[in-house]
Subunit: 147 residues, 8 copies
């Protein structure tokens, strides 16, 4: 049996790569998916469609194009990992968590101890809180491959 894991959130550190490498090393039967994580590409995703007369509508147009991918990948995921870093608003990560919660898709949060309190609602619907990518990999190993 193979599993699909969606990686949502922070794009400024290499947590995705660490999880993917950790899973590869253990040969876990997992396909990882993600939104487009190149910041500039993502912001410009709808620019080729024309019609971006203000900041709001430019963002709107691009975000709706991005959502085609994100919505499909989240709905196909067996598990999501939702990462919150130290900076930025990262409301899209919390949005993805809420989306998973409503779908009943199990998700794992990945964040440091100092943001426990503002993430309490997000964690209340999570299956696990991890502080390191290694912990996430261990959960994925256990879930997909333990006997």
């Amino acid at each position: 049996m193979s599993w699909t894991v969606y990686l949502s959130g922070e794009i400024h550190t290499d947590w995705r790569e660490q999880i993917i490498a950790g899973a590869a090393k253990l040969q876990l039967p997992i396909t990882f998916t993600s939104a487009v994580t190149d910041h500039d590409s993502s912001d410009a995703a709808g620019d080729h469609l024309g019609e971006t007369p203000s900041n709001f509508w430019r963002d709107h147009q691009s975000a709706k194009v991005n959502a085609i991918r994100i919505k499909n990948l989240i709905e196909q995921a067996d598990i999501a990992v939702i990462r919150f870093g130290d900076k930025y608003k990262q409301w899209n990560a919390a949005f993805d968590a809420g989306y998973c919660a409503a779908l009943g898709t199990p998700y794992i949060t990945l964040h440091s101890e100092d943001i426990i309190h503002p993430l309490k609602e997000v964690n209340a619907a999570a299956q696990a809180w991890a502080q390191t990518p290694e912990q996430v990999v261990e959960i994925l190993r256990y879930t997909t491959s333990a006997e």
Copy 2:
């Protein structure tokens, strides 16, 4: 016909009161619902259950108690208003927006212009972006009472 509108997000300004008063003045057929908005009560919602040996688990226990109410009210809402203020992480508001999006419940965001960019994914799934409570009231009037 009567409508139910869930008010989610910021608890530090009186935007809820403004919307409720505006709707009352127009005699709109709306019942407003909300999470418990008293900050201390909310943080302590699970304390009477005992067993809070760390910050994480105290928050977890309380947030899960709060979720009984929030989940029910969001699932019963016809419309949600999701408010983001100038401060704080407010990840619970973005979480509620994602939850609404997955359910297909139409929601309106309420926030100032300077946070358009970090909210682009949240707005991409919203039906409207308002900058003032008056604008929200006008949408509610139009939706529930225009001919």
Copy 3:
């Protein structure tokens, strides 16, 4: 038992009024709902939100505001009547029919004989095709009140 009937489509003739009057005369236990049918109000539904720098985005903003009402009313309807007149594109009426079909909400089409062919897909998923408001009223009487 009371029923809710959503009236979708053409806004240039008085078919809504005829159906409502016909049902009232028979005292049928029906609440009728509808989108806002004032053309100018509908086109301007989002104008108070600002940010309408082009025809496309002005229409988009207003149509999304209108959708808050339409989506809720269609999802609450027991039956829909979808009216196609002689003129205009009326794609919103066909859109509503498709929405009803996917939800499994029974709908009745109301249109003249000369547009049978272009409406064949819409009629394929309908429960009945009526040519006059009187026929619609008779279906509603039978459905809600026959013994």
Copy 4:
């Protein structure tokens, strides 16, 4: 990961072929599906079943046979492209859009600028509006293959 894209609407120009060729050139991992686009075959789809005593019932019988395919393909699609040309009623395209909207399947509209206004409700629930097949291909490339 492979994707399925349903192509709905106009059958008089070669927009389908352009999109399919564009995706093939980029080797996008996409399977394209469509209703039967041969006009005469489609109109005659139910004729072999007998019983077509009037225009209405002939169309009805054929359209219900066509719906077996359409319904299955739309429900299996990850994305739909809904094309409106310059002529004809094309109510089936708007019907498909409404069906997708109710299912939560993301769709892209493809039409020229002069029909923005009558398509505003259809666009309100779309993820993107494209004016050329090339723009659609670019969205599909970005969605299925960008990093």
Copy 5:
């Protein structure tokens, strides 16, 4: 709390009246619903719409009009009673049972012992098999009113 019970099937004996009278005598908090049970009215339900050029299409048109009522009432029912008499095909009753089974709506069958075998699939998904209206009333009393 009040309950809705849909009564499906045979229209040639007074089993509906017996159940309704039995429930009334016990003042059970139940609203009973049913398809139109007047045979001629039911067969003619669509005749006023014109277009009935063959037996098949006349039946089709009427049955689709009847389905507006039946589908709504079954989907709103908390419980269904499915009655099979000694004569006739009664495929509509078995159809309703299958519909209930797929929805997860609990249903009770009401039939005599000599048709146990052909009804085994229908009974396999039923919550109870009753042989008399009195037994049905007793189940309804227990379900809605026992402490």
Copy 6:
């Protein structure tokens, strides 16, 4: 793309074989599924479990074992064919049709002209009525393989 077609109903003639052979000849991309059609095996499906103290419970036990297969196969089917022969009650076929209707799975009925009237409700929710296996094969060819 491959399709799954569930064949439900009569087990006394070779209509299943005719459809399967017709599809094979045309190399249609279809997997056919079916309940166990050996009458004695089906009736005895639960006998090895013991506990069959009466006709009713023997039938009940076997029918529930059969339902494990039937329920899975119907829920996985893209299309169902529901066959009614000249004899027997065949309530299970009508039950399967109702189940498909509630799921939204398109189905084709296959029966002769003399039972149009008692099957009117079953046909009202069907996509097509065929009188011969050849007609069914033609619908399947058109649906799965026409361009």
Copy 7:
């Protein structure tokens, strides 16, 4: 707004009465529902239907009659309380918890500390664990009536 709370599990102590009385004292807007809690009535719920030739089938028949009520009440509940006492298997309580979990209905467990370990899977999907009826009442007060 009014709430419905389903009380599941142990029938040998007065925990139901304590919760109902506690809620009444606080005038909480709650309707409490429950399976039939009279042990003998529950075991005999199907006896009047005849056909109980063995312990297994007698239990089966009665349990299926009871399920008509239980299934409806759980599906209508906003919240469930699942009580495990010191004795007996109480598999029905755990079954109800699993049913709630799959539906997404929030539930509270009520049990003493010495059975934490065997209930860990049931608690993992619960919103709260209470040890006394007073704690449950406090959660209900907070959920339904706090500002």
Copy 8:
């Protein structure tokens, strides 16, 4: 066609191995899945995440990690087998049965005759009750491979 069968419950006897071996001998097209059945591993599934300051929260953390796997596997299963042994509470097995019942996933119980009565609600929603692994294998053979 291949099938997925989830094996839930007791971990102290070799019933899983017997069913898997029996199915292998018959070359049934079945993939078997299961929770992690190593008791110590299961209890410690969340320990690497830190934060286990009490028995309750240690169990909670591990059980939520286990639920990632269990929830996914049950939701992907075509059939479940729910095993109750002679000892222990086994509330998780009953919980899984309730979860399957709400999803509509057919399940088979496997238990000895002396616990019929406390399992009556669990059996009321089951498709079959087996007393030996051989009986389960026979049901699986019949379901997946009989003609």
